[in-house]
């Protein structure tokens, strides 16, 4: 049934928002409207993909994070770092130096989020073997995609792979290791350094899990700024991080496009970009893709290298990571690599906890719980849609004439919100009523300016 407890990481800063409609038109789930001259988000429809944040011309859309000072509530403070964080830095900056600088910010440990990949590769392939009746299986890696399916493609919810993402496996593994070293859970703070809003939402209200092993989230861009300026100032000329386990190339590039699909035994495909993903999900629904075993879908162009909180150009980040992956091979030849044992020692435990529960569809598109009422509403929506001008100008505060028609029928907007309807009536009636209506959408300020007062 409908789940209303979803956490969203995207926030609109009302003081900054100029109500320009850019975000509204970019939203793939029609979750935004303009009211009182400000963008307003419908929480039941938002999937935290962050497309709105990309197009906002005044930075009025932001991603909330946990207060950095919160980490000091914990004795053990772990930065769970995704490989795309390392990809932000030029190749000549050694990974250990980056980690040193993260520790200087107050963390006690730095762990890579992708160490779970090795276990996952085998788990995914046996999952595919055991679920031959479901094709294609859709990756659960990108939380924005999982939510998109829940909201817009409810009949594909059963195609989602019910296995944890690498960061959750890694968090679980490190939590266990620390427990074994004698630390209680309330002494351990695991903070994920996130490249996107979707991962925050996934940590705060996980899909298919009761709670996450991760304590909180820190924005990748904010940590990058701290780390980069400290490296630039050479504050940490000495390296305080000991030689440690290194990410293998496959782990390093897992979050890039094709990172998962390459390891699938069988036919697979990797798709990035939210609109490409939507187009493909439509095809899967039609049943015309059932000869594929596995589809990797990522909301961001260039996958996590292009996350909305990635601090650098997505193509550069991706290229730098691939180059670092090549370096690994050279280092290995020279015997300079330390392999990860922590995860391998815990394989059995992690495999026991790798599954997530069934992913439930959400009612993002539903007009009414009652089908009869929904049918009546749909009929009305069609009538209104035919009546409206069909130019999708957004002056009504809705992204298209069709969405305005839906809003009208759902009681969330008025026919008079349409300036063309107003114009038609205005020729006969006094205009005061229309002005009131326009003020409700655009606020007094914009309209006064137009009126020259």
């Amino acid at each position: 049934m409908a789940d209303h407890t979803f956490h969203h990481a995207l926030k609109i800063l009302e003081e900054v928002c100029i109500g320009c409609t850019h975000c509204m038109q970019a939203c793939p789930t029609e979750a935004l409207r303009v009211r009182n001259g400000k963008a307003v988000l419908n929480k039941n429809k938002c999937v935290d993909c962050g497309e709105c944040m990309r197009v906002c011309p005044v930075n009025a859309i932001t991603v909330e994070q946990d207060d950095f000072e919160d980490i000091f509530k914990f004795k053990v403070r772990i930065a769970l770092v995704p490989s795309v964080f390392i990809g932000q830095f030029a190749r000549n900056i050694p990974t250990r130096k980056i980690y040193s600088s993260i520790l200087e910010q107050g963390f006690t440990h730095v762990y890579e989020a992708e160490h779970g990949v090795n276990i996952l590769i085998n788990a995914v392939n046996s999952y595919l073997d055991n679920r031959k009746e479901i094709r294609p299986v859709i990756s659960s890696f990108c939380p924005a995609i999982v939510r998109m399916i829940q909201v817009r493609f409810p009949n594909l919810a059963e195609n989602i792979m019910l296995l944890k993402a690498p960061l959750d496996i890694a968090a679980l593994s490190y939590r266990k290791v620390l427990n074994e070293r004698g630390y209680n859970d309330d002494e351990i703070g695991i903070y994920y350094i996130t490249p996107c809003a979707a991962k925050i939402a996934a940590v705060k209200s996980p899909v298919g899990e009761l709670s996450s092993a991760i304590t909180g989230v820190i924005r990748l861009d904010s940590l990058y700024n701290k780390v980069y300026s400290s490296i630039k100032k050479e504050v940490n000329s000495s390296c305080i991080v000991p030689e440690k386990e290194q990410l293998k190339p496959r782990e390093m590039t897992w979050s890039l496009t094709g990172g998962e699909s390459r390891f699938i035994n069988g036919r697979s495909l990797a798709i990035d970009g939210i609109n490409n993903a939507i187009e493909f999900l439509e095809k899967i629904e039609n049943g015309s893709i059932s000869n594929f075993d596995f589809i990797e879908l990522r909301a961001c162009d260039e996958s996590c290298a292009g996350g909305i909180l990635s601090a650098n150009n997505r193509f550069l980040v991706s290229e730098r990571l691939k180059e670092r992956a090549k370096q690994y091979k050279l280092d290995k030849k020279e015997g300079k690599i330390i392999n990860n044992k922590t995860i391998r020692q815990n394989t059995e435990y992690l495999l026991d906890h790798i599954s997530i529960d069934e992913v439930k569809a959400r009612s993002g598109l539903m007009l009414d719980e009652d089908m009869n009422a929904a049918l009546k509403k749909m009929e009305k929506i069609r009538q209104f849609t035919n009546y409206l001008p069909g130019i999708d100008c957004a002056a009504c505060g809705a992204p298209s004439c069709k969405t305005l028609a839906e809003d009208i029928v759902q009681g969330n907007a008025k026919t008079l919100d349409c300036i063309f309807v107003q114009y038609a009536i205005n020729r006969q009636e006094s205009s005061e009523k229309m002005n009131d209506q326009m003020e409700k959408i655009w606020g007094t300020e914009k309209l006064n300016k137009l009126a020259g007062s």
């Binding site: 009949n155 095809k283 049943g287 015309s288 089908m371 749909m378």
Partner: protein
């Protein structure tokens, strides 16, 4: 509730558009996702058959709380041997059509598998009518 969509024969780039519109409608009605899945597959195959084998078609949707009736009517060559056409793997699709990923001969069998009722009428050199019925026996 009643709606109609046009299907253009031969235009493979637009194959699936009508089905897409209907799918959007169905999702707004709080139907069981499993039924939507069956409807989506059957409807898409019927639409693709018009694109692949006929000249022009209309998809007609009739919908109430009990059932949905989808009629796909086309002007086209018609089907000479319906029993044969219903066989898995039977296809008269040209090499070009196959190369575009259509014409595996599974369309009609898949429609039959997914629809609660399938009624097929065809007249040679006139056209074909595929009528699909789905019962929405939601609890």
């Amino acid at each position: 509730m009643h709606a109609q969509y046009e299907i253009q024969g031969g235009d493979f780039t637009k194959a699936g558009l009508a089905s897409s519109e209907v799918k959007k409608m169905l999702k707004q009605l709080n139907l069981d996702p499993k039924i939507i899945k069956r409807i989506a597959v059957a409807m898409y195959e019927a639409e693709v058959n018009v694109v692949a084998h006929a000249y022009h078609g209309i998809m007609d949707i009739e919908l109430n709380t009990e059932k949905i009736i989808i009629k796909v009517q086309d002007t086209g060559p018609g089907i000479a041997d319906i029993d044969k056409a219903m066989e898995e793997g039977f296809s008269t699709a040209s090499k070009e059509v196959r190369e575009m990923g259509f014409g595996a001969g599974m369309g009609l069998p898949n429609i039959k598998k997914n629809a609660d009722e399938l009624i097929l009428n065809s007249k040679i050199n006139k056209g074909t009518e595929v009528k699909l019925v789905f019962y929405l026996n939601h609890q």
